[in-house]
Symmetry: C2
Amino acid sequence: MRPTSQGRAAVMNDVARLAGVSHQTVSRVLNQHPSVSPATRERVLEAVRQLNYRPNAMARGLAGRRSRVIGVVSFDTILYGPASTLLGIERAARAAGYGVSIVTLEQLDHSGMVNALEALADQSVAGVVVIAPQTAAAAALHSLPLGVAAVAVESNVGGEIPAISVDQVTGARLAVQHLLGLGHRKVWHLSGPRDWLETHGRIEGWRGTLEDAGLPAPPLMTGDWSARSGYQAGLELARRDDVTAVFAGNDQMALGMMRAFHEHGIRVPDDVSIVGFDDIPEAEFLSPPLTTIRQDFDEVGRRCIAALLRAIEADLPEGPDRPEPDPHVAPTLVLRRSTAAPKS
Amino acid sequence: MRPTSQGRAAVMNDVARLAGVSHQTVSRVLNQHPSVSPATRERVLEAVRQLNYRPNAMARGLAGRRSRVIGVVSFDTILYGPASTLLGIERAARAAGYGVSIVTLEQLDHSGMVNALEALADQSVAGVVVIAPQTAAAAALHSLPLGVAAVAVESNVGGEIPAISVDQVTGARLAVQHLLGLGHRKVWHLSGPRDWLETHGRIEGWRGTLEDAGLPAPPLMTGDWSARSGYQAGLELARRDDVTAVFAGNDQMALGMMRAFHEHGIRVPDDVSIVGFDDIPEAEFLSPPLTTIRQDFDEVGRRCIAALLRAIEADLPEGPDRPEPDPHVAPTLVLRRSTAAPKS
DNA sequence: CATGTTGATGTTAGCGCTGCCACGATATGC
DNA sequence: GCATATCGTGGCAGCGCTAACATCAACATG
C-alpha cells in the first residue's frame, strides 16, 4: 500500500523521476496511449513495480471527469434473486475493471429511487444498474431525467434505458411444456405478487402454453414469494381432486406447497407434480428434489455490465463500439424428481 | 442533476458568485465550519438550493484526502447471514452519510484478501469492513499490513483490528438452556463447518452449558450449513432411540433435519425438539414453526460502522471521540413450536 | 489611545492526475 | 533540398475542492 517503509505512498511524479521521464509520460503508459516507445514504457512499468505505485482514482476522476465505479441500486438483497443478480453484476463489473457501489432501496416509491440515484451521482459513478423488479420502481426509474448511463434489470418497460432480464415467458413455457409432455392436462399456477414484473411474464408463459395446447387455464392463484404463501395455496389445492400438476412462481412457494401436500398425504410426484422457479441452492436437497427453472444470474450480470459499458462509452468520442447484448437471458429447465407422469 | 436546463452542473464557484461570497465561504458553510455569520450561511444555502448544487465527491476527496465511502469485503453474499450483515452495514453507513463499495471474495485465501483490499484502496475508501467468517480469511486479514482503518465482522481473532460479532457462545447457551429447561437431559448438536468462526462459538456454548448442568455432551455432528447436511444428520439421529433434543447450527440444517425426522415418523416437537440458529424469514413458516436464535444483523451493521468511524476519526486531529461500541451483539431466543418438554 | 484578541471573510496554493499544445527529432513528400 | 507529416516527449493549465495563511473590521484591555 506504500513504497516499502516510506512515509507516504508513491505518486506519479515519483515514478516519473525514477524512470527519468516526465509524469505525463507515466500517465500515457498507464492509459495505454499509443505513442510511447517500448523502451520508455518498459522503464516506466519497472519504476511502477519498484515503487508499488497505484494511481489515485480520485485524481484520475477529477482530471478526466470519468470514474471507474459503477453504482447498483437494488431492493431487498436478502431475497435469492436480487442477491444473486447483485453478485453477478459485481463479478462482471470487477472483471471489467470497475468498482461497485451499492444503494439498497428501503421504499419502492419515486422519492426512494430519486434519493438512491442522487446518492450514487454524488459519488460520481460512471453509470448505474438498477435492479427494479417491481412495477413501481421501474416506473419511477423511467420517469426520471437522469444524467448518467443506466441499465435496468428485470424491468423492460420500454423507454430509453436498456433493460436486461431473464426471459420469464420462456421459463414459464419450459415448465408448463414439461408438465404437458408428461401427460398432464391441467396445470395450475401459483404466481408471485402482481406488482412484480417477473410475475407477469410467468403468468403469460403459463397461460400461452396452455392455450397453444388447446387447454383451458385453471384459476390463477397468487402468492407473495414466501414459503408460507406456498403452503397456504397448497392447502387449498389439497382440498380438490383435480390437481395433478402445479407450476409455482418460485422455489420457496414450491417448497411450502410440497409441505402442505405432504401433510395431507398427497405424494409428490406420485399424486401431484410440482415445478418451481429460480433453482435456489436448497432445491436440489428438498424431498423430493425439486424440478425447477434455473435463471443464470451470472449471465444477467455480465450482460448488464456489457450494456452499461456500451452506454458509457457511447458518450465518449472513440469508443470500441461494443455490440449490443441480447437483452433476454435464456432460462433452463432443471429436471429433478418432483415431476412425473400422472397416475391414471 | 444539473441546474435546470443549463449546460453543465453548478460548481462551488457558481454558488459563491450567486451568493456574493468567496468559494471558500461556501466550502465553510457546507462543512459546518463555525465561523460563518448566520446571514451569510442562509444566503449560501439559498444559492445552493437555487442552483441545485451538489458537491463533487472526487474533488473533495482529492483536496481533503478523505473520502465518504467505505469498502466492504464479503464472502458468499447469497447466504442469509452474510447478505443480512451486508444490508445492515449498508444501511448504517448510509445513515452516517457514507457510500458503500463492495468486493466479493471468490476465494478465501491470502491473495484473494489482498486483491480485495487493494481494489478498495484503489477507490480511496475511508475505511473497510471485512465480513470474514472463516478462519482462513480472518487470518489473511490479520496478517496484512493495511493502510486504512478496518473493522472485522465475526472474526475476533484478536490483533489490532476491532471486531464486531454476534455473541455466538451466548446464543448457543440460550438454545441449550431452553432445551434443558424443558426437561431434556441430552442435547445433540449439529455444527457448521469447522473452519467457520461462528461454529466454534456455538460448539463452545453448547458444550459449556451441558457441563455447567453436569451433563455429558453427546458426540458432536458436523454439517456444512446446507439443508442437505441437516437431512443427512437427521437420518443418522433417526436411527437412535435416545434423541429428544437437537440444537442445529443454523436454520437450513434444522429444516433438513426436520424433514428427515418427518419421513421417519418422528414428530417435532412431540418426539424430538429442535432449535435452529439465525431466524431466517422462512423459519416462522416451517411446519412446525422453528424455535431459533435470532441474530440482529442490523445492530451488527450499526456497531461496525460506529467502530469504523471511530477508527477513521482516530487519525484525525479533532475527532468527536466516539465511544467504543460493545463488540458483542446479544442474540435472542425466538420461541416457536419446534420445542416442547420430552414425553418422558 | 496603542495594543492585542476575536470573528468573518478573502486569497493563495496545492491535492494527483489528464487534456491540450508545443517542441525537437526523425521520416516522408516533391 | 526544403517544406511538411509523424512520433515521442515535456510543459502548462486546470478538474473542484479544502487547508493554511492573510486580511480587515469590531471589540476589549491596560
